[in-house]
Symmetry: C2
Subunit: 333 residues, 2 copies
């Protein structure tokens, strides 16, 4: 049967409180005692009941990762990162997909906290910018860290990259190749990063002395279909762009598909650039020039911030990289 803490105590000839001390690495346990207890624990194959620890103590050894569904690749990396850090800490991760548009979201999150008593929360974009949720978390005073938030940077701890600079870098890359008419596909309007990326695109154009043309900029939803639709529109223009920069890889894949369909060789006649460097970027052809977003590391760092529990608000900026692959080249002619 399952071993309990009192079984261990009996086997080691100490009180259950002493076993508890060893379990929690508290001070004031003699070396000899500790060893006896540890031996008993392994001998009995003891795993403490999380439920009992949560109920009796002030920690639950669980944190929650809250996200809304967008790219599976992105979510996968986020989960990976948070989970890896949790594992080091001996803490469980509760993955909680939500609908950021749900009117009851704040209450759901509140219920989650009450039920599970999680020790902290990692928020992934776009839940990072859902005001009711932030207010609820604030009200309860539960520690939380946001990954790539778009608003109120100062308020809470967060990890992020410089989306504007990254988009600027990519646009500059295209400009340096010789492109002058560069199409842009905006990201999902729910995500604040979308604005940042658009801003970076415009800033780079501006610096290069290229006039901003609204017709070259199309809305998107971070998915394949919207990328394809945007490409259709851009390529139907009287003076179509020689390069298209999509705000994520999924949409860039959509752009690629449209180009292939129309027999437009990439990159010879059309350069295509993405953003994120998900696995998709290397699975399409030609492989996408894209911005490597350190997604996994962002998530890992977010979890770290939670565990380090420095009292104050802390921010960490992580570096991005421009990954030059086969989908971009000098314009024809």
């Amino acid at each position: 049967m399952r071993a309990t803490i009192s079984d261990v105590a009996r086997a080691a000839g100490v009180s259950i409180k002493t076993v508890s001390r060893v379990l929690n690495k508290e001070r004031y346990v003699g070396a000899a005692t500790r060893e006896r207890v540890e031996a008993a624990m392994t001998a009995l194959n003891f795993s403490p009941s999380l439920a009992a620890r949560t109920l009796a103590g002030s920690r639950s050894f669980q944190i929650a990762l809250i996200y809304d569904n967008h790219s599976p690749f992105y979510i996968h990396q986020i989960q990976e990162g948070v989970w890896a850090r949790c594992r080091q800490e001996g803490v469980r991760m509760l993955a909680q997909p939500v609908d950021v548009a749900s009117p009851t979201l704040a209450r759901e999150v509140g219920g989650l906290i009450d039920e599970t008593r999680v020790d902290g929360i990692v928020l992934s974009s776009p839940v990072t910018d859902a005001a009711p949720v932030l207010a609820e978390l604030e009200r309860r005073g539960i520690p939380f860290v946001r990954i790539s938030p778009g608003t109120n940077h100062a308020l809470t701890s967060s990890v992020f990259m410089d989306d504007a600079q990254a988009a600027d870098d990519m646009t500059t890359h295209l400009v340096n190749l010789g492109h002058r008419r560069i199409g842009f596909v905006i990201g999902h309007p729910n995500h604040m990063a979308s604005d940042q990326r658009l801003f970076g695109y415009r800033r780079a154009l501006d610096r290069a002395g290229i006039a901003y043309e609204p017709e070259l900029v199309r809305p998107g939803l971070f998915d394949f279909a919207s990328g394809a639709a945007a490409a259709e529109a851009l390529l139907a223009l009287p003076a179509p762009p020689t390069a298209i920069f999509a705000s994520n890889d999924d949409m860039a894949a959509g752009v690629l598909a449209v180009a292939h369909d129309r027999g437009i060789p990439v990159p010879a006649r059309l350069s295509v650039a993405g953003f994120d460097d998900t696995e998709l970027a290397r699975a399409v052809w030609p492989p996408l020039t894209t911005i490597r977003q350190p997604t996994r590391d962002l998530a890992y760092t977010a979890a770290s911030l939670l565990f380090e529990k420095s009292d104050g608000v802390e921010h960490r900026r992580l570096q991005h990289d421009l990954m030059t692959r086969g989908s971009t080249a000098r314009p024809a002619g």
Copy 2:
């Protein structure tokens, strides 16, 4: 402050136990009493402590989903399916990535069960066939369901599709198009489904009276790179195949990339087929002809089996579909 069950009891003018009865939908609670209690619960915004319920009762309101990392798309759909069913049941899902090759895996899983007291477990391939894990679960008598297991079908409840038939269908599709030299890329050796798919391929060839040629069959690991490597080898053959059937979409994407690199038009000169119908199948160009595997439904059904807790072992086979898209066509000439 957080409301407890005794707050609710006081507010409703009943005993704690009666509130507990309402919470658990037990019998023998008067309609009027139930309403008073429910009103008090919403008024106080009461969420019961999972830790306390777990400790005192015989359920934990949690199940675990155990998987080893392979395609992010696949995992994403599996999580989605299990999670959707859990939500209906008011049960939390603990996502637990593991390394199926780890020698301590069974112990880890045992520890997970002891710590969390999960009510049941969903196993996803290839953990479905890790003998030590199965033995551990069996020993503890904890309910579990396997998704697409490869072995010991009779032993435990499972949901699956007919991988052999699906591969047979795809191969037959290619044969019917007129292909005679059909390359095949095997899946990851850890996954039992890989054998089944190879078997289906051979069976279809056999029925069509086409001799099996070992040189047309290459090993793979379910990832892009191994698909590309297999394609390189196949296309370097003195008599290269006119079609390549890869055991999943990721590898098929690798095949496509090699074809593009070599300037071999798809599907005009080479047909390419995948397996799974992940989002990737529609993100590449041309979109992949593939087998739609009802991954999300498999996961959903697996969770259902867990909750329905019919005493006996139960199996559910789900249907697959042949999705004909742009990557396959009649061979040239």
